[in-house]
């Protein structure tokens, strides 16, 4: 049932003039993908540098709260760029993603990763040394950092695999 609705929607989206425009100009899709990857580079690096600091790796002479304040806020405007370029990529080739389980897996992982990032950012905002006081919290910090890195890696993997799992 929902499959049919999504299928019809993808078909309609693919028949719009905007979609046609994106498909026929050969440089638009690789161009959008280039911007998309550059956005992922900024976002992924920003998350990882804070995650590594949670592990005590790199920048250990700087305070965790300062590192988080320097790098995490960049994630949200970058996410907006990613959503926009991603949307245009979907409009250009609707069937490639909308009829693809890997795409939905990527979106689920993205929501999960964003929640982890938001919680980390919020906690470090209200209490910059929250994750560094006490053994239990330090272990929890490393768990959260590992989860964040693993989630972002899976998102990047899923993104590349969309190209290999499309139907038809």
């Amino acid at each position: 049932m929902t499959g049919a609705i999504v299928g019809d929607f993808a078909k309609w989206l693919g028949s719009t003039s905007l979609s046609h425009e994106i498909q026929t100009a050969g440089w638009i899709i690789p161009g959008l993908q280039t911007i998309h990857i550059l956005g992922i580079a900024i976002l992924f690096f920003s998350a990882v540098i804070v995650d590594l600091r949670l592990w005590g790796v790199l920048q250990s002479d700087a305070r965790l709260g300062d590192i988080a304040r320097r790098f995490l806020p960049v994630i949200w405007p970058t996410l907006l760029v990613l959503l926009i370029t991603g949307s245009f990529l979907i409009i250009g080739e609707p069937r490639r993603s909308l009829l693809n389980t890997t795409f939905y897996l990527k979106m689920m992982l993205l929501v999960f990763a964003l929640v982890v990032t938001a919680v980390l950012q919020w906690s470090l905002w209200v209490a910059p040394d929250f994750w560094e006081t006490g053994r239990g919290r330090r272990i929890a910090a490393r768990f959260a950092a590992t989860l964040s890195i693993v989630l972002w890696c899976c998102i990047i993997f899923a993104g590349r695999w969309i190209a290999y799992t499309q139907v038809g």
């Binding site: 550059l38 580079a41 992924f44 590594l52 790199l58």
Partner: protein, 167 residues
């Protein structure tokens, strides 16, 4: 020229190259690792470039920024180069015949040269400007050139996928 052909054939005929070509899972996996590593390389380099340009981390000394970030850059670069080499040997002749692949290699070499010039020439008097917000022109230039080159590297990488001869 004959030597080069044999050299390429040596890689392409190896059992490793064969496995990467034939296995449906191996190539996309290596490619995913490559994208992941490139994201870290480019993201981390951009953070340093933005400091050199005076747009980010300006309250932190340049030396502290590079010390805290570049080890990650180098680690990721090794992974990107290794995964890139694996993709290359699977289809060496086709890559060598692709203009965007050649351009990508040249751009990475140019980025390396830019880094060497900055490190050994422009940064010789770094202690004098390490904590400044606005850096000398040579340092700002190094940051700007690096940024443009790495953006072009990513673009070429993506264009390779659209211009490779199929099959």
């Amino acid at each position: 020229m004959h030597g080069l052909k044999e050299f390429i054939a040596f890689f392409e005929d190896s059992s490793l190259a064969d496995a990467i070509r034939e296995n449906d899972v191996l190539f996309p996996t290596i490619e995913s690792v490559h994208v992941l590593a490139i994201c870290l390389v480019v993201g981390s380099i951009m953070a340093v470039d933005l400091r050199l340009l005076g747009f980010a981390s300006v309250r932190h000394p340049v030396s502290a920024v590079t010390r805290g970030i570049l080890p990650l850059t180098w680690g990721a670069f090794v992974v990107a180069a290794a995964s890139g080499l694996l993709m290359f040997i699977a289809n060496a002749a086709k890559y060598l015949g692709n203009g965007f692949f050649i351009a990508k290699l040249c751009l990475i070499a140019a980025a390396g040269l830019n880094m060497l010039v900055f490190h050994f020439i422009s940064a010789r008097d770094q202690p004098r400007w390490d904590v400044q917000v606005r850096l000398p022109l040579s340092a700002r230039l190094a940051g700007g050139i690096s940024m443009i080159l790495w953006i072009a590297v990513v673009a070429c990488g993506r264009w390779i996928g659209f211009t490779m001869e199929a099959g």
